[in-house]
Amino acid sequence: MKQEGKQAIWSEYQKEIADDKYFYVRSCIRQNFFPGSEVAFLRILRDVLKKDVYEHPCHTTCSGIGYHSDVVPVETAMTVVARQFALMTEAGYTNYVPSCITSFGLYTEIIETWHHFPEVEEKVRQKLKEATGREFEIPGNLAHASDIIYKFRKEIAAKAKFKLINKNTGEPLKVVDHIGCHYAKMFPSKGVGGAEYPYVLAGMIEEWGGQVIDYPERRHCCGFGFRQYLVQANRGFSVACSKEKFESMKPFKPDMIITNCPGCPMFLDRWQYVINEMEGTRYGQNGEGIPVFTYEEVAGLVLGFDPWDLGLQMHQTDCEPLLDKIGIEYSPEDKYNTTVNSLSEKHSSLINV
C-alpha cells in the first residue's frame, strides 16, 4: 500500500464543510439503535467545541428508508425533504447536518436532481407551498455529521484524554473504518476522500492515534440493504455480507470497527452474535468479537466521556476488552444502571473541562 497514492486521491476529494451554525437533523434508526451517539455529537459540538447547533422539534423522517425500500416514490421523498429544508430556512440556518448517512445521500441526490431538473424543484416548491404553506432555501452547506467531526478531528485530538493506542504494547490500535454506502458511492465528490478511498473516518483514526486497516472487502456493504433486512427470509443474505467482511478483515487482527452510518454499526455488531450462534465463529482476538463503534462514540471515548453515557451498553459485542486496551476506566456494575440524573451530573462535570 502506497500512502502517497492515497493522499493524492484525498487531496482531490476535499469538500467544503461549514465551521459553525449547524441545523442538525437526527436519524430515525440511530435514535433507537444508538441513542447515545447523537447525544454525544451534540455534547461534543456544543460543550466541547462551543458550536451553535440547532435542532428543530418538527423535524420528521427524511423518508429515505421508505424510498430505498421501494415504498415511497421519489416525488414524495422530495417534498418531505423540501419540508425539512423549510424548517432550516425558517430557523434561519443554512448549514444542514444530517446524522443519517442515507438521509445525507438522499439530500445530496435530491439537490443534485433539482440542479439538473429545475422544473422538478419548481414543482416540489409549489406542492410544498400548497400542502404546508412553507417555503425553503436549498442548504448552503450540506455536510454529514461525520464530516463535522472530521473537520474538528484535530481540535478533538488536542483535548483528548485517551489515544487509540494499546496501552499495554504502545502500538496503535488497528481500526477498520466502514463507510456507509450512501455516503460517497453515489456522489464520490460529496464525500471526504471520495468513494474508493474515503478519508472521513480514516482521518479521525489517524489523528487520534490509531492505525487504519485497509482490507480487501473494505468497500463491501454491511448487508443492511433495507429490503434485505426488512424481510426476514432475506436476512441470510444480509448476514452473509457482514460475514464476508469479517472473513476478509480477520487476518489483519483488527481491534475495533468504526462506522458512520446508522445501519452499519447495528449489523456489524449484531451479526457477529448471530454468526457465532449459527456457526460458532468469532472474528476478534482471544475468542472475542470485534467491538463496533460509531464515530461519535469513539470521539467521546477519546475525550474521556463515560462509556455508559455513550450508550456502549447497547452494543451486543462487548466493548470492554477495547476499553481495557485503551485504558479507559469504567464501572462494570453501572453498565445497565445508568439513570438520567447521573448523566446530567456527569455532564456538568465534563463541561468544566
Binding site: 426476514q232 448476514v239 452473509a240
Partner: protein, 114 residues
C-alpha cells in the same frame, strides 16, 4: 440450525482461489483444443440435447474451467455425443472428446465419486 428464521446465504461468487480445477487440468492435458474455446456458443446452439433440455456445453466448459464442478457431471450425462457441435465449432475444439474426458475425470476423481 434455524435459530433466527434464516440461514447464512452461500454466495454465488466463484472463488477462483479455492476452487478445484483438477477436472479442467485433466482435460487440458489430454485435449489441448479445450483451451481454444472462445465461448461463442455455437455448440450449444446446434446441440441435439440442448434443444430438448437445459444443457449448454459452452456453459459447462466455463464451469469446468473455473472449477465450479458441482453440478457439471449431472449435466454432462445428458450429452448424446452426436457430434454436431464439432462440425459447427469455429475454433476446431474437439468437443466430443472433452465431454468424454470430463466424464472420465469425474468418474476417476474421488472428490466427485457418486
Amino acid at each position: 440450525m434455524e435459530k433466527f428464521g434464516f440461514f447464512i446465504s452461500k454466495g454465488r461468487q466463484i472463488n477462483y482461489d479455492s476452487n478445484d480445477r483438477s477436472i479442467a487440468e485433466y482435460i487440458y492435458e489430454r485435449e489441448p483444443s479445450f483451451r481454444r474455446c472462445i465461448e461463442c456458443g455455437g455448440c450449444s446452439a446446434t446441440c441435439t440435447t440442448g434443444s430438448m433440455t437445459k444443457f449448454s456445453l459452452r456453459e459447462l466448459h466455463i464451469l469446468i474451467k473455473r472449477g465450479e464442478n458441482d453440478k457439471v457431471m449431472e449435466s454432462l450425462k445428458k450429452c448424446m455425443l452426436c457430434g454436431k457441435c464439432i462440425l459447427v465449432c469455429p475454433r476446431g475444439v474437439n468437443t466430443r472428446n472433452i465431454v468424454v474426458l470430463a466424464k472420465q475425470a469425474f468418474q476417476k476423481s474421488a472428490a466427485y465419486a457418486i
